[in-house]
Symmetry: D2
Subunit: 134 residues, 4 copies
């Protein structure tokens, strides 16, 4: 298991007229969190893309228990549970900072694709780095 805690602060841009974070913005927080999780084990997406490999999202999911509010500090607990084969799944749990209150949880599933848009096996570099950090 690889885990990374990514802090996010809620700003006006993400809050709707119900006074809570608009539902799609959590997927933006998730993207930040997985970028930082990958960084934390030495993988940066820019380098992967420079090798001609892309990681498009092929599935996304979110469940909302309680809305986060403006100027709240959140922690996105981000986890890779399984060694990926063709696909990489990442889980996210959004907590209010310094609390055990789970606001939102979700996941994303990613494929690996070459520059002509064809699905490929997970690149060795990515696989080995994930295995070494499990």
């Amino acid at each position: 298991m690889i885990q990374y805690d990514h802090p996010v602060k809620v700003y006006y841009k993400d809050v709707d007229q119900m006074g809570i974070v608009y539902y799609s913005r959590y997927f933006e927080y998730f993207e930040e969190a997985r970028t930082e999780l990958l960084n934390s084990i030495g993988l940066d997406v820019t380098s992967i893309e420079n090798q001609g490999i892309q990681l498009p999202v092929i599935e996304s999911h979110c469940e909302y228990s309680k809305g986060a509010k403006f100027e709240q500090d959140l922690i996105i607990k981000t986890t890779i549970l399984d060694i990926p084969k063709a696909r990489l799944k990442i889980d996210y749990n959004v907590y209010k900072d310094h609390s055990n209150e789970l606001l939102v949880k979700g996941y994303t599933v990613h494929a690996f694709m070459n520059q002509s848009g064809r699905a490929i096996r997970i690149p060795d570099l990515v696989l080995n780095t994930i295995q070494d950090n499990m």
Copy 2:
């Protein structure tokens, strides 16, 4: 079944450096589409909110087969399949215009909430209008 076809055009603001619509933006297209579906049967969200009722999203899901591109015209085929009880589920299928090519599909689930943030039964007005249009 209630169905509504909502057209969307892809602009620069929604396209990422892979040259395809960023994954969370489809949830914004979905919101447009469900607002228009509800409008098409005589429900507008502003009036519902003015009665003190909110429809927060409690679950969202999306599967991505093929990325939409800048300046493409899309059709969001939007459907209410079942008469809601406590929760309203809406399905979305995103097609490239004038084609049967399904790019993305997803759904959202909505609860009904009063102004103090408590879950409530589906309001009669909403329920009756949906039933009349099924």
Copy 3:
């Protein structure tokens, strides 16, 4: 002068907790409007980009008199006043639909750039098309 009226409807995604459209979203409406203005005279940005030419924004400006609200219909009156030399300036006036109430006004200035990121003269195709429609 080239003018184009682009309709926009305000959805939840663009409205903040003051109940008005978040200030940066108007620049997204402006982008939609200028894309459609260019389309209306036979220029599409995709074709221009396919010729290796980009039109980055080099200046943007907006003044806000009154906030647009959820489910309001807006008209973005979009204008090219002058034949561009090195730079193309586009003006935007945002009205509440079917009214003369000006909510927001702004402008953007665009440069022309080749694929190596160097500023270039306005391409003949763009210049001629604009001149023919003035």
Copy 4:
């Protein structure tokens, strides 16, 4: 003069198909930066709003010299130059981290408004706090 340096990292969500940050996103970075500048002198927007006072943006401006890229670290140098009377002006300069390379600069102007949407004088609390930190 009050100054605050706000760090921002560029994620995929903000980058367009030219491979640079989409022009309106800088206004979101500016909002983060001014929220943190106000926090740094003891003002938080939530408390101000809880007193029935809003700070809508009435003018925004940005000039773009060079595009920021995915996974770049930016510093938003944020400044209040003058003691506000009716209006508060805030300036922003966006630098690539650990460099003197200015990518983008801009400003926003804010009014003070009561809950009925009427413009008001700057509240004493805000004025005094700004004066004390000049």
